[in-house]
Symmetry: D2
Subunit: 300 residues, 4 copies
Amino acid sequence: MKIGFVGTGAMGRPMLANLVKRGHSVVAYDIVDDALAAAARLGAGRAASAAAAAGGADLVITMLPSSSHVEAAYLGVGGVLEGIGPGRLCVDMSTIDPSVSRRVAGAATRRGARFIDAPVSGGVPRAEDGTLAIMVGGDPRDVEEARPVLAVMGANIIHVGPVGSGEVAKLCNNLVAGVAAVAVSEAFRIAEGFGVDPRILTDVISKSSGNTWVMEHMHPVGGLVAKAPSSHDYTPGFTTDLMAKDLGLAVSAARDLRVPVVVAPAAQQVLRLASSHGLGRKDFSSVYVFLKPSSGQAPV
Amino acid sequence: MKIGFVGTGAMGRPMLANLVKRGHSVVAYDIVDDALAAAARLGAGRAASAAAAAGGADLVITMLPSSSHVEAAYLGVGGVLEGIGPGRLCVDMSTIDPSVSRRVAGAATRRGARFIDAPVSGGVPRAEDGTLAIMVGGDPRDVEEARPVLAVMGANIIHVGPVGSGEVAKLCNNLVAGVAAVAVSEAFRIAEGFGVDPRILTDVISKSSGNTWVMEHMHPVGGLVAKAPSSHDYTPGFTTDLMAKDLGLAVSAARDLRVPVVVAPAAQQVLRLASSHGLGRKDFSSVYVFLKPSSGQAPV
Amino acid sequence: MKIGFVGTGAMGRPMLANLVKRGHSVVAYDIVDDALAAAARLGAGRAASAAAAAGGADLVITMLPSSSHVEAAYLGVGGVLEGIGPGRLCVDMSTIDPSVSRRVAGAATRRGARFIDAPVSGGVPRAEDGTLAIMVGGDPRDVEEARPVLAVMGANIIHVGPVGSGEVAKLCNNLVAGVAAVAVSEAFRIAEGFGVDPRILTDVISKSSGNTWVMEHMHPVGGLVAKAPSSHDYTPGFTTDLMAKDLGLAVSAARDLRVPVVVAPAAQQVLRLASSHGLGRKDFSSVYVFLKPSSGQAPV
Amino acid sequence: MKIGFVGTGAMGRPMLANLVKRGHSVVAYDIVDDALAAAARLGAGRAASAAAAAGGADLVITMLPSSSHVEAAYLGVGGVLEGIGPGRLCVDMSTIDPSVSRRVAGAATRRGARFIDAPVSGGVPRAEDGTLAIMVGGDPRDVEEARPVLAVMGANIIHVGPVGSGEVAKLCNNLVAGVAAVAVSEAFRIAEGFGVDPRILTDVISKSSGNTWVMEHMHPVGGLVAKAPSSHDYTPGFTTDLMAKDLGLAVSAARDLRVPVVVAPAAQQVLRLASSHGLGRKDFSSVYVFLKPSSGQAPV
């Protein structure tokens, strides 16, 4: 299949590589020259704009870092919607504001094209293995059309609902995971202060109402879970900056919906603070490191 | 065995009943006459004070609503430590500040007695069934001495560490559970705003990094998990007031330790607000109800 | 002067009325028919679109409820930038995201027009009196050109800096005012719990480090400051919904700048909760009412 | 007058020095030998315990770092209430939990003595000058009895209400001041991100609804207010650790009263974090430094 691929950064590149390996003819574009050159070395053709990448394509994939990048890549001068052929399908795999997904989908429809959102989780390692989890929002027919191509990049493809629903599902999942990581970190800092063995506490919680995927797989305290980033100097995994971004998107979506949210913004801001103080590119479970007790002599 | 039992409220009563049923000779005390009368109807003897209940006992059990009640019951005039025999063991099963456990344990030691903390989880239903989970802190020898009696009341008895550790484990577990309930509620309110099917979202999250015991067993959205309080008008379970109390204990412990905590106090306060606005005696998962969107016409 | 006026809602109308009274020839547009009809009754001409209102105007004024309304009114089909004459000046008096001000200003420049932001404070009463405070961001020459017209609507016109700076100043001021209102409410709820006379506490704080404009003029406790909304059933003043909106804009701006913020989102969300629970159209100082203590029997 | 003085740390010492200078006969006690030796060098007699310092005194003053210190100094073995003469007056000038003030006052009454709380503000410089602000809670007759002695240490003595009210007033004032410092810091970080001149923003806010004592006198941005700690490398003033302590006391009091609080715990925890990251002994306005933007390349 002829695929236009816009956004060949750290995540986009291994996804594109898998498409090329499976015999698809991919034409790529990225506003960063080095990123585009790297895509070319993987076997993609080079386009001079998003519109050009979309030009002759049967299907367009976009993988971009933020809502404003997606808006620009689709709606801007030289954007996807300028170049795309009539009736063609766009698959945006970026993690962005679901309202933006819907706005871009509307613009695509007016232009005679189609749009689905399909954000991923799993990070670079699973992008390389082609085993990403992919949450998809869009018309069922469109989702089925995209499925064979998505299956090259991911192992677990879930159709959540109409356009934007993929983003909603991803953000809601990450909201809980991000908050849980902070909560688990707080709990283990308190236990540590009382001299309680974190291994025993982990055992207790794992069998009780406080159990979470995050503690089982991404335990913020090093040395307890062998594969957790905490046991490897908090090498991500999923960075503090990316988790702060996703929590920010969830909180911003809540604002637009007038939904009051309380622990999500608290977690968002402590991750943002952790990033300001040097942990932005570490795994987000490093918030445990950030929440260290004050050693001061002053009274409490 | 002769057991002194102080605190025969809603939780203490079924625990005491199981001890009586198993043939223990229980002498009870409660500052509330009605609570004490109820204990007597279950077969316990009546003492005129905590000291008197402790008087001839081989073992003293206390089950009280707060740190200050425990301090008064042990250290006050007519308290347990006035009456207890030399070398006897006290088992405090209340959920309180671990620092208070340690302070009372120290006083018990100075008085020639011994003290362990053994808070429970599971609520009235599991107290009645004798299947409480019991987290124990204390000297290993003391814990072993208490174990046969604890086994009458609970099914899962875990020795966490030295005195206070039972409380720490319980508070840390509940910190995560309480925060998770708020986070899950926020996520599902956002999804609802976008019209995403909560059943599908539950399925997505259950297989991803946002999975939590709370969502699996106490899903805040009604109708998705048959046994969850949300499917039964938020009949507890574990009340909003009790969860606010436990989060408050955890946050207060963090303060004493100079540990910065962020999502725990945010969750504590939203539960406190939910209680102020009528949900105190509902299950704590009813925070979902409290986090309803504003319907106002005003801009966001 | 010929003035195009877009946005004739509750705030825009009295501003427009003052312009008409001072002899300006105003042509109005609003997407809501009733709002436009009301403007016509005040003496304005009716345009069929924002573009048409801008058509023959020497100066265009916009007064809209949110960032997305402003974007649509300027950049959309039939928007101001379609109709405006070459070199003409646009004055946006809405309270919106400063980044949107800058984006619209950029679009105006590309279209050969000019743009300044000039958000107001003071509410409907001061709009009627023509005594609004107006914070202006833009090129000094543009600001001077607009000043005589602004002076018809406001009494205190401050040039803060380049485009967007008026919005920044307003949001930053309201961030502090909104947070202060919550903080003062919390302080007086605590004092009340201890039975301290709020009048004496007000006197103490007014002479100490906790003094704030908010306590002096908008005291959240009724009966202490005669003109405060709290002394008049929390009739606004400035509604909870509008303050939640402005705090939301400030928090969102912080997100875009990667600035960690902590008390602003906490205040934003408690106001949002207060709105969900019926206080959205009351003065924002009614958050004091919302922060009522829980009366529950349960332990703390 | 013969005065017993317990607690001769950094704040107590200059207060004691003023009493000695004015001819009072002071007998001091401190559990820290060096602190007691320093008091002796200022002309105080040395007592071997709090009880001994209280022994022959007409009036007892205590100035201690925390609630638990006050409880121990009054109620513990060798404490004030062991030594104090019948009918004598105790003046606790520590900043502590108002509930503890009330509990100690009750114990004093049972012992035949009297107790008032009289916490101070102004820090070491004003302690040295004898110009502290003193907020007093207690029986009016007791307060009048203490007034001449208080007047030696402070310039502004306010009788707030019954026992504990001095503490309540201080904590409530500091709650607002502490939250305001964080809010002002957040506002100026946002403004900075947009390139708005902080001097102009200060001018705008000072005339508007966001004005606060904190901005006028303790502006967190250096170079704008000459006497502010921020203009002198954040030399306190009032340390981050002490403000975190006072916010912690206010939040803890709210918990006991079941009052929901939202911005106070948020401010408390960010100050605690700032302390963990090295700013504990700087002025609390240094939270501005802590709230620096993240410089990361990652998307928001």
